[in-house]
């Protein structure tokens, strides 16, 4: 039996001026699964997940959450929908004027009736323990490393026990060990809390490790949709180049022309 779809995109299109970034994308994200969206930089991965939480409005098409259309809601109505989703930004986007405790407590203070500081401290401690950051409550984000910031940001994203977490390039900028810690945390969060995860990345190792389903975007369209094996066995040259990290002949030619031009200019 097919799993229930929690988020659905129907004919999603996004244009910035004349550039079409997302072109008629239709996807359904299954509940409790981890879906990874891969693709080269600038292919519209981040734009796609920002549409899922309606931080960007589509130029065309529709976004559904629990079969309710959400892309046409006003900001106040969207506020309630967004509390059911967590968003982990690429940079973490922690509030730098607040401590780790205040950052994680922010959504709790904003959207729950919990006002007792002891209870908030306890809840924050629980979330920080989940991401291995208990004890850092009084640190400011500036004192944390990149990996630690992402872990605190994850603790903040799960503070309200959301149904869905959206990860925007969670392992970018981290060394392989720190990146693997984040991968493990994504797996742990999904297994322990049964959360639906949608991860945007260009890290193939990470995608294969955490993804139940992998979708590759290219030129604003879905190029491949399947699991890790589907991607690995794909015969499409764009997919193979992405997996192997190889530059295309066309790009290579462009680079060589540029160098030759420079050499000719130097001789002149």
């Amino acid at each position: 039996m097919q799993n229930e779809g929690i988020i659905e995109l129907k004919g999603l299109t996004k244009r910035f001026g004349e550039i079409v970034v997302l072109n008629d994308i239709s996807l359904t994200f299954e509940k409790g699964k981890t879906t990874v969206i891969i693709g080269p930089s600038g292919c519209g991965k981040t734009v796609l997940i920002k549409h899922i939480i309606v931080l960007l409005r589509p130029s065309g098409g529709e976004v559904y959450f629990h079969n309710q259309r959400i892309d046409n809601l006003d900001e106040k109505e969207l506020g309630k929908v967004r509390t059911q989703m967590g968003f982990l930004f690429q940079s973490g986007a922690l509030f730098d004027s607040m401590t780790v405790l205040e950052n994680v407590a922010f959504p709790v203070r904003q959207h729950t009736q919990i006002k007792d500081p002891d209870k908030i401290d306890e809840l924050v401690k629980m979330k920080l323990t989940l991401v291995g950051m208990d004890g850092f409550q009084n640190y400011y984000p500036a004192r944390l490393s990149g990996g630690q910031r992402k872990r605190v940001a994850l603790a903040r994203a799960i503070a309200l026990n959301p149904e869905v977490i959206l990860y925007d390039e969670p392992t970018t900028g981290l060394d392989p060990i720190r990146a693997d810690i984040i991968n493990e945390l994504i797996l742990k969060t999904q297994k322990a809390l049964g959360i639906t995860s949608i991860v945007v990345t260009h890290d193939m190792g990470s995608a294969c490790k955490i993804g139940d389903r992998i979708i590759m975007l290219h030129n604003g369209k879905v190029l491949v949709d399947g699991n890790a094996d589907t991607i690995k066995n794909s015969t499409l040259p764009e997919v193979q180049r992405f997996i192997k990290g190889e530059v295309s002949e066309k790009d290579l030619e462009g680079l060589q022309v540029s160098f030759e031009d420079i050499k000719i200019d130097d001789k002149k």
Partner: protein, 286 residues
């Protein structure tokens, strides 16, 4: 990354004709005016709502400390120098005419009605407005404002309303400080330094400066405060990426606030003068 895509979009617009450029600039200006008006309307609604929500009060107190309390010294220094400079400048002219004892009226009227409020507001546009734009601009480029939205909180309610209310409520109070130091500064130069008769100085000042003048000067503070917070927060929320974007937003925020303060001052003078003249006959009857 959508920023890369934005850059591509910009590069796509080369080779336009002058008419196309002019049209694009007009559309952009109208769009900016619309965005600015909508931002101010949303901020106003959010500020009224914030007044009715006690849980917002701690945020307002924090902003009052940063915006108001910490601005007291610079505003007092501004006021003091305004009074002292006026005394030095005006003394030369009035003493030539034999009216040096009227120096108090000239200084105190200028300070409480015009120079105190306007210069204090300009000082606040630099100190407070610059800080607001830089803070919110940095939050914008580091996606912190987007993070507030992603957590289901309205960033205008959470970030703008407390700042707007703090500016609105404290600018008039800061103007009182500027006025007070302006009066003191003017006195210290006029009486102990220039040797004008103290009793005549105060007596003529008291007869020349009315409660209306002081009230009008302070009342301007509400409008100046709203202008500073409104422009600075808008610029912070809509700044371009990077350090250069934040820097440009701070400059534009200060220039915008400065011009708006002067424009508001002009229109308020006209309106307040009309009000004063309409109630003047009643005052004479009383």
């Amino acid at each position: 990354m959508d920023r890369e895509l934005m850059a591509q979009t910009k590069n796509h617009n080369h080779g336009n004709t002058i008419v196309q450029d002019l049209g694009a600039a007009t559309v952009k200006t109208i769009g900016n005016c619309g965005r600015f008006s909508r931002f101010q309307a949303d901020s106003l609604v959010a500020s009224v709502a914030a007044c009715l929500r006690p849980e917002t009060y701690p945020l307002i107190w924090n902003q009052m400390l940063a915006i108001g309390v910490k601005s007291v010294p610079v505003v007092m220094i501004t006021g003091a120098f305004v009074g002292m400079v006026l005394a030095i400048e005006a003394f030369g002219q009035l003493s030539g005419l034999g009216f040096e004892e009227h120096l108090g009226v000239l200084i105190n009227l200028s300070v409480v009605k015009e120079l105190g409020p306007v210069l204090a507001a300009i000082m606040l546009a630099g100190r407070v407005g610059g800080a607001l734009t830089a803070e919110l601009g940095t939050m914008n480029v580091t996606e912190q404002i987007l993070a507030v939205r992603s957590m289901g909180t309205d960033p205008i309610r959470y970030l703008v309303a407390p700042r707007l209310l703090a500016c609105l409520l404290l600018t008039p109070i800061l103007i009182v400080y500027a006025d007070f130091l302006g009066v003191i500064g003017g006195y210290l130069i006029s009486v102990p330094y220039l040797g004008i008769n103290g009793r005549a100085y105060w007596a003529l000042s008291a007869s020349g400066v009315e409660l209306w003048d002081i009230t009008a000067g302070i009342a301007k503070g509400f409008f100046f405060g709203a202008a500073i917070a409104g422009v600075s927060c808008y610029k912070g929320f809509h700044c371009k990426e990077g350090a250069q974007g934040v820097g440009e937003a701070c400059t534009e925020g200060f220039v915008g606030s400065f011009i708006l303060i002067l424009a508001i001052d002009f229109f308020l003078i006209v309106i307040l003068k009309a009000i004063y003249e309409s109630i003047w006959p009643i005052k004479l009857l009383l």
